[in-house]
Symmetry: C2
Subunit: 336 residues, 2 copies
């Protein structure tokens, strides 16, 4: 007998500054059996990502804001447990955009059936093989345009996106420098991912000086996940005609009041720098090329993935909040 | 009998903050008659441009810093008054990079013979037909990539570069908004240059609000000459996939201490904005295309030029300083 009760996380107020548990509520709802064309999906893993903070603002810039008192959404991997559509069978594994709930009803054509190359690692489809991996691929290759032998600097370098940027850049023949917030993350990048130099931004005295030492030939490509002091330091050290792929600026996401930006933006002119903001959802056309390169890289052990797995939807909000204190190591996922 | 004495303006100390007369000295030197391959040139007009402020810094980013106790340089138009090279005759008009002096000796191949289409307007070769005009053309068309019907916002819109950007954008079928610092400049842009809306940034209360009103459909292309609050306001009003051609940021040139930048750079990501810093000297390959379009536009009265002419090398420093208080109206030139 199928159990139709589901747990959902709702946004119940818009955070000012750092979000807290008060902004969210765990709500139990009773679903209906699937109607013609629908499936009932039990989520196995959901993703928490920094971009979700942006959707909690009334004036969300990335996409439509999360509605108050409704379930939030985002990437998840689930299993079909009841089907009223011929395209999907019970037991099929589906990628979906219905995170923040352990079970949901959906039209069959709003989820994508996966044919996982390794059933042990379904969560990879939320990380290295999913949105963060594609983000790394698009940002680095399309907007960073690294040439062999050039120096690539990656902020939030051990994160879900950053770790993929670092490793793809190494595979493309670049010298790679990462910035992270802990020595353990630094060590992992050096030992496991082959990164050439790592800066712990929390313990270095001066980011410009640290970057100057780590990048004796200057920085040609910057993959921007952080903003603020990281952008300022990079502009100081960047070479003429440098490229910045601007993926995110997590340093500012929880500012209740906007904080001033870098004081050296004139270097954009003097150094003839190009900056491209981008959002991965505009670049679906690169997904096939991405998978064609990424799956073999993973199978051959050339791309390593690191995850922090939090158990249970009751802890999903904690998992999300942890992104901003750096308590994740690699991709943060919630396992149901 | 040729007079070989020349006046030169030397940089004698590096300004901290706004430059003043104390940073410069007028020096009289005695030149030699030209040797084989050289010419003696008497300058007729010299250019003063905001970029020269950057070259006064020890850590100049645009190009090599001006040396202390030597003559500065920059664009000028002069007449050959003595020639020891067969390629140039006495009376030839030459574009040269030997501003800040009323007479100079040069190898003949370091100056370019002009065949002015209108001898009355030699100074145009320092403005609309010269470096500022080409800067406008390259920045707007190569980096701004305006499409017909799009909205283009230009800061310092009545300046040597800005006024050309505005008019070229109109000729390309765009809606054009300019920002200026006086009502007279605003009126000239509206009446003579066909600009659609003008903001006086000195008298408007809030630049974001003024720009929102002036650009009801948002801004697609921003030609950046100013930086600071102009960049911040533009990011607020920019459309997704907007392009910023970053030509200069004059608001910051005379800061003794670096000033913080815009507080909303995250919009670069959310709106998928592209920023290209550029310097015209990298784009000589576009000069022929530029002249092929610009000369007919001027002849047909489709591009208007406005100049502020200061007389005499003794007043060249004042002309330069005037750029930062907006005392120029259009291109600032010094006539000898």
């Amino acid at each position: 007998m199928t159990n139709y009760s589901a747990k959902q996380v709702h946004l119940i107020s818009r955070p000012s500054g750092m979000p807290s548990h008060e902004n969210f509520a765990l709500v139990e709802v009773e679903l209906n059996p699937p109607q013609e064309g629908e499936v009932l999906v039990k989520n196995l893993y959901m993703s928490v990502d920094p971009y979700m903070r942006g959707r909690m603002r009334a004036d969300a810039v990335y996409a439509q804001a999360y509605a108050l008192n409704e379930v939030m959404y985002g990437g998840a991997v689930g299993e079909v447990i009841e089907s009223a559509d011929s395209s999907l069978q019970v037991g099929d594994i589906v990628l979906n955009n219905a995170a923040w709930q352990d079970k949901f009803l959906a039209k069959a054509n709003t989820v994508s059936k996966l044919q996982p190359f390794d059933a042990e690692q379904l969560s990879l489809y939320l990380g290295t093989l999913g949105m963060p991996g594609l983000t790394a691929y698009v940002g680095l290759l399309k907007y960073g345009e690294p040439k062999e032998g050039e120096t690539v600097f990656v902020s939030a370098a051990s994160g879900a996106v950053g770790a993929n940027v670092c490793q793809i850049a190494k595979l493309k023949g670049c010298r790679v420098i990462g910035s992270v917030g802990s020595d353990a993350k630094a060590q992992w990048l050096l030992d496991e991912c082959g990164v050439d130099a790592v800066i712990n931004y929390k313990t270095c005295d001066d980011l410009t000086e640290a970057l100057t030492q780590a990048a004796p030939d200057g920085v040609d490509v910057y993959f921007e996940n952080v903003g603020g002091d990281h952008l300022q330091a990079t502009l100081n050290v960047m070479n003429p005609f440098g490229r910045i792929a601007a993926c995110g600026m997590i340093a500012s996401y929880n500012n209740a009041e906007p904080a001033p930006g870098p004081n050296n933006l004139m270097l954009i002119v003097g150094k003839k720098i190009r900056i491209n903001g981008f959002i991965v959802s505009d670049h679906g056309e690169l997904r096939d090329a991405f998978l064609a390169e990424m799956i073999p890289w993973i199978q051959q052990g050339k791309i390593k993935s690191r995850e922090t797995v939090i158990e249970g939807i009751d802890n999903a909000v904690d998992a999300f909040l942890g992104l901003f204190s750096g308590s994740n190591f690699g991709k943060m996922v919630v396992k149901f």
